[in-house]
Symmetry: C2
Subunit: 130 residues, 2 copies
Amino acid sequence: MVKEKQVRSTAAKQHIREILSKSETAMSQPEILEHSEGICDRVTIYRVLDRLLHEGEIHRAVGMDGITRYASCRQCDHDHGHQHDHLHFSCEVCGEVTCLEKVVPVLKLPRGYQAREASYMISGICPDCG
Amino acid sequence: MVKEKQVRSTAAKQHIREILSKSETAMSQPEILEHSEGICDRVTIYRVLDRLLHEGEIHRAVGMDGITRYASCRQCDHDHGHQHDHLHFSCEVCGEVTCLEKVVPVLKLPRGYQAREASYMISGICPDCG
DNA sequence: TATTTCATGCAACTCTGTTGCATTAATTAC
DNA sequence: GTAATTAATGCAACAGAGTTGCATGAAATA
Ligand SMILES: [Mn+2]
Ligand SMILES: [Mn+2]
Ligand SMILES: [Zn+2]
Ligand SMILES: [Zn+2]
């Protein structure tokens, strides 16, 4: 039998979860750090984010800039299982990365390729900045 | 009048261009460095890559791992202008990132969003590793 | 409350990428 | 070919994101 690691609720975790669920956009670790009011060390932020990822509460989006951002899971297609294959939009003016949960790109993989995870990012100008 | 910067052909540039055009897959800077046989400094590689990017000879793909990889432009839809909106596939076993130039995802951006650049990445298992 | 197990802080480290500046090399004009 | 011009390079130093080891602190549970 495999003993599962217990899921523990800590101050840092609750705080970070709240920061992300209140945010309209996906946030990078430094951004989260800024909003964390020194509740914990930056290393702890990374570790909490990892846990939230594995527990399926949040998902991540790597931008064209190579920066990883995190967002809480809202309408992540919970109908057909929990998927994170929606589009992310990165504004070149304000720098914000937005989950477009309703936009799921359509494509056909060539024979032999097995998909496990998807990451779709479009950069440009967002409605606020356009 | 705006004086354009002249395009100069140097040993490092030719070498790096060749490395990329001979590669079947997209390469990261460290990978390029490995294959460069000490022809130049690593900083020069970054600078050459920037130039090749701006000159439209290569394009880049940021993986889910946040690592930037470069690939020379081959069938990048030169019919309808030079686009780089094809899919990239990242194998979780061998780690290689492949340009799938023929696969262009279809989607519809919500009103107000203006697209300028796209990055589509799918990770999973490639034909060789499957 | 005692025990167990996980989470945290801190320091040190790795990796990717960038910048300043003096030197070198490719173009171009002569 | 030679000189003048301007871009490319090397090197060192730096910046930022993310990771790791280890001692300490805090949840969960019994
Ligand atoms: Mn989700
Ligand atoms: Mn191209
Ligand atoms: Zn914007
Ligand atoms: Zn593979």
